[in-house]
Subunit: 215 residues, 2 copies
Amino acid sequence: MGAVTEADRAPKQDRSRVTRQRLLEAAVACLAEHGWAGSTVSVVAERAGVSRGAAQHHFRTREELFTAAVEYVAEERSAALRGLFPTAPRGGRGTTPRGGRRAAGADRTAVVAALVDLYTGPLFRAALQLWVAASNEEQLSPRVAELEARVGRETHRIAVELLGADERGPGVRETVQGLLDMARGLGLANLLTDDGARRERVVAQWGRLVDEALG
Amino acid sequence: MGAVTEADRAPKQDRSRVTRQRLLEAAVACLAEHGWAGSTVSVVAERAGVSRGAAQHHFRTREELFTAAVEYVAEERSAALRGLFPTAPRGGRGTTPRGGRRAAGADRTAVVAALVDLYTGPLFRAALQLWVAASNEEQLSPRVAELEARVGRETHRIAVELLGADERGPGVRETVQGLLDMARGLGLANLLTDDGARRERVVAQWGRLVDEALG
């Protein structure tokens, strides 16, 4: 083998990144469909069309693969959510101009709906499988608790920002937190049956309540 | 063996009822601690101090035992919740006397806290294990979906009653539903870490918001 040039290295890094991404996406889909018990590195490698050895090169353990997968997809979804509302006011500064309140209110219902959407897809199903498995497995528990806290903080930050909430006001922080708890509960209600019609009505009403509470 | 008299029969029925109850309570505890994978009829029978044969006399299958257990404990908890607020107004009739609103409001915060408590103990952990297992097991799924719907309707009925909510008003039904979704989400947030301090603040704030929304 001759010397590795810059030109050789770049595509190799790209390939490695693509392989990693395929493994992470396959891991989330696998977890959502088959649960923790049915999710192994081998199953994911096969689903991703990657050799078991290559998968283990990227992720040493099963725990590492699946927590990385949930985190990766959560980051992707957060970025997509921010992308949906590129002009949303930055929260926590109280800089919303007077008279702009009504427009912000109209947006808020859409923001609430988009936040709830975070909890009804395969990512939530996968995360739920991981949480529940972690509650019975000591090896998994601290890692998943830490992941959940990190993802939760980031989701809260996005919610505050997109809702234009000023967290210095009394109760504002808890209003937003309760909204995200409700979104999580709606995700759970959607696990076994299609809860879409009921969810839409609840989201419309809670969108109004949150909008009023945030003023 | 002589003829079975009434006096013989009654204690036998009592013993059978006690055995059944012990099995159901052991099943919920087992599910909460070890998850679906670690929950079998044998494990529960041993935990309850009952022979495997006696357990199978009461419950033919593993699915039957665990869904019956979650339903039994849910009913016990519903009865206990109603018992906590024996003087709560009956909802849906709009008969709350004028001037009684403030007192009802004070009660509502306590009702919201008690409703949320339904979702933070071993029953919720057990139900969650069952839901998540059902989402990956066709044999379990319809049975658990049906159970969830039944328990959910009953919890909603109790919530409406204890909150003195008049569901004929616009958005009232969805306000209560969203509150129960929030309670479920708070239960999930408590799965891996003790979320009690944060939960208390969220419950205080949303107790106020729900009270205002219900008027």
